[in-house]
């Protein structure tokens, strides 16, 4: 228990002390929200879909949670390079505890980051349907964080150096975001794109956020919830398994 807590705390402390990183990480969602939200707003409105800012805000919140959680897992790569990983690998603590502490730390950080983006969207003019929806939105944020922290851990356990990191960024993380329906509605898509978005776990997270926050859902909240829970269990299991197999 103590080990779980101290490793969770470590993640949190690392995050809270990196002030410049916190500010820097808000730049990208802010850009999407403002440039796309206001830039594409008129076109979106004319096509009869309502306010684009309302539509894209849950997408941007989900984006922040996705990036933060997946990078917390891939952060294992840094632990490996700076050596701290070895310290945890030889400790008389079950590997499952180590990986859970780290993952829960990443999830917590992702939720804080997500909350910051929620605040930013509110300032920009986003208005959720009701205040009662907010706790449910947090539940979806937590699920997104769990799914991708697990995936990040699985990748981080296998990755050996920085070159691999770029590959993951361009061929996994960015596609997960762009093909998730964070930026466009999932209705009436061309067949192939439709199939891809349906296979993207983030689609269900964003859809859940949108469903709770603005009452607009493509798959339905029950399906969103069920899919996310199943995938979270799967990625966390695979992540923990691969972590337990790390050699140094």
């Amino acid at each position: 228990m103590g080990a779980l807590y101290i490793l969770w705390l470590r993640e949190l402390k690392r995050y809270l002390r990196s002030h410049t990183q916190i500010v820097a990480s808000l730049g990208q969602p802010l850009l999407y929200l403002l440039a796309l939200g206001f830039g594409l707003g008129p076109v979106f409105q004319r096509s009869g879909n309502g306010s684009y800012l309302q539509f894209i805000a849950p997408g941007v919140i989900g984006m922040m949670v996705l990036f933060t959680s997946i990078f917390s897992g891939i952060g294992l790569l840094w632990d490996r390079q700076f050596g701290f990983l070895k310290e945890t690998l030889v400790a008389p603590v079950p590997r499952l505890t180590v990986v859970l502490g780290k993952t829960l730390g990443g999830v917590t950080v992702a939720l804080i980051q997500g909350t910051l983006v929620v605040i930013v969207t509110l300032i920009a003019g986003f208005r959720p349907g009701s205040v009662a929806a907010i706790p449910f939105a947090f539940a979806f944020m937590a699920l997104i964080a769990l799914v991708f922290a697990g995936l990040g851990t699985a990748i981080g356990s296998r990755l050996q150096d920085m070159q691999g990191f770029q590959l993951i960024m361009n061929f996994l993380v960015m596609p997960i975001f762009f093909l998730s329906g964070a930026l466009f509605p999932l209705d009436h898509l061309p067949k192939v794109l439709g199939a891809i978005t349906t296979a993207d776990p983030l689609s269900y997270g964003i859809d859940g956020l949108r469903g709770t926050l603005i009452g607009r859902s493509h798959f339905g909240l029950t399906i969103d919830l069920a899919v996310l829970v199943v995938i979270a269990v799967a990625t966390l299991t695979v992540g923990s398994y691969l972590f337990s197999k790390i050699e140094a």
């Binding site: 103590g2 080990a3 807590y5 101290i6 490793l7 470590r10 402390k13 690392r14 002390r17 990196s18 490996r80 390079q81 700076f82 050596g83 701290f84 990983l85 070895k86 310290e87 945890t88 690998l89 030889v90 400790a91 008389p92 603590v93 079950p94 050996q160 150096d161 920085m162 050699e247 140094a248």
Partner: protein
């Protein structure tokens, strides 16, 4: 306490450790010496559950470090050759994490942290993040951390690398102290022959993945007809210089240094 039989580790075509066998008795200080790239660190990694041997058996206090990983990890402590600190956190926080991971009770943890940080002259700077420490200070912190809990077996992989003579002296005094008072078995590697000569009860010399000689410092000198351990070492391993390839971790650290400037 440690028993190694016909241990082999291959990385692809390269054989890092070729069929080595040795034993370390309880309460012994055992030095494992060899030129760069001889297979010392690879052997330590296999002994400490970090690497799976290609073949051969390892027993730590009667346990197999591969099959009984968790139990084996409760038996030993290690100071790594490479850095293994959390750079973003302070010295005191690094000690705290280690203490918690090794189940040192809170009160004892705080007492020992104070005592060790004072011993290695880091107490004044305990609340500074490790990233602001000099190389020597980081090294001292790694060593202080290694002594926070009292394991049955202590592995020290080139612990004195980058330390000044004062800190080295402190380190070896402390190693002898825990060895004598708490019967900790010590397995160490070093490039400084005088240190091995001074502290080790027994020595094994490894070269190109094979053990070329074993015995007490006196026996090794006698065997090679030399009057110092350094002489014996050179007689056994030759005088050509070895280079290790820089691993990705080293490359990354250089990259990070470039950015921090």
């Amino acid at each position: 306490m440690i028993r190694v039989q016909s241990l082999v580790k291959k990385f692809g075509d390269f054989t890092a450790v070729q069929d080595i066998s040795f034993e370390v008795q309880q309460g012994e200080i055992f030095a494992f010496l060899g030129p760069n790239g001889a297979g010392k660190t690879t052997t330590i990694k296999m002994l400490t559950t970090l690497l799976k041997p290609t073949s051969g058996t390892v027993t730590l206090d009667g346990l197999d470090p591969q099959r009984e990983q968790h139990e084996a990890r409760r038996r030993f402590g290690i100071v790594f050759q490479d850095p293994s600190l959390e750079w973003e956190l302070t010295a005191a926080e690094n000690m705290e994490i280690h203490g918690v991971l090794y189940h040192v009770p809170r009160k004892l943890r705080h007492e020992r942290t104070e005592q060790l940080l004072k011993l290695f002259e880091l107490w004044e700077r305990r609340n500074e993040p490790v990233k602001r420490f000099s190389g020597g200070m980081k090294r001292r912190l790694e060593i202080a951390r290694g002594f926070l809990h009292t394991p049955k077996i202590l592995f020290l992989d080139e612990p004195t690398l980058g330390l000044d003579p004062q800190s080295r002296n402190q380190l070896w005094n402390h190693v002898r102290h825990v060895n004598e008072t708490e019967e900790v078995t010590v397995f160490l590697t070093t490039h400084y022959m005088d240190e091995a000569d001074r502290v080790a009860h027994r020595i094994a010399i490894i070269d190109h993945g094979k053990i070329v000689a074993q015995g007490t410092p006196a026996e090794l000198k006698e065997q090679t007809g030399t009057d110092s351990l350094e002489g014996a070492f050179l007689a056994l391993t030759g005088s050509s210089i070895r280079d290790e390839a820089a691993g990705s971790a080293d490359q990354m650290r250089q990259f990070v240094k470039m950015w921090r400037k």
